[in-house]
Subunit: 136 residues, 2 copies
């Protein structure tokens, strides 16, 4: 951290302003050697929205927030139509597919070892807690 | 659509400006009866970023873009630290878990019907193309 203590953070460098490391809300999460990370969140969310969001969190949560914003921003710039919602859709589809495959494998297995083949699936694979609103 | 043709869209209403339905980039995707949808994207991304993003897309892609932005914004307001990246993480974890369960079920099945039990999984369940460029 010594080497970067005199350089402005990526945000202040991009915004061409003086960086007071102690007070700058961006400095800990947008180091000068990752300029793209700040440029992405600035482009997608806007500097002031990012600063506002970070300031409203307590210090221990800010790193995760900065990183999740950077992740969303990167996806949105790569895919302006769907952003990371496209990934959510792919993951949901794939999960459904693998759950169906598992159900079929368990049914096949049940023909050899009996109905207890279905039990571990119901207990461990999220079938029971999958739908919090489902009473069963 | 007749009934809302004279009301400003949710964006223009929120911004207290006149809405020229023909030219307003928000009007088709932020109808006056869904004020929260615009308020959310405005709060998270900023009005001008949303307008810029929609304007850079062709008209056929704008509805999906507006809806995916609204989805991301809603998640970010509900969970300021992780936003919808939290959901991605949950889905990735659950997918890994169900894939492991499927692998075990197929291994069990292979003890009864032989190694061909493993083949459909490798072909259909994404084990082969699973991680093209996994960021984690």
């Amino acid at each position: 951290k010594m080497s970067s203590s005199n350089s402005p953070c990526a945000a202040c460098k991009f915004l061409r302003r003086k960086c007071t490391q102690q007070e700058c809300v961006f400095a800990p999460y947008f180091p000068p050697d990752q300029p793209q990370k700040f440029e992405n969140v600035h482009k997608v969310f806007g500097r002031s929205n990012v600063a506002k969001l970070l300031n409203e969190l307590n210090a221990t949560q800010r790193e995760d927030a900065a990183n999740s914003l950077a992740y969303e921003a990167e996806y949105r710039l790569r895919d302006p139509v769907y952003g990371c919602v496209g990934l959510i859709s792919i993951l949901q589809h794939k999960l459904k597919q693998v759950q169906d495959d598992l159900l079929n494998a368990k049914k096949d297995l049940a023909t050899y070892i009996g109905p207890q083949a279905m039990l571990p699936m119901l207990q461990h694979s999220g079938y029971i807690q999958q739908h919090p609103n489902n009473p069963s």
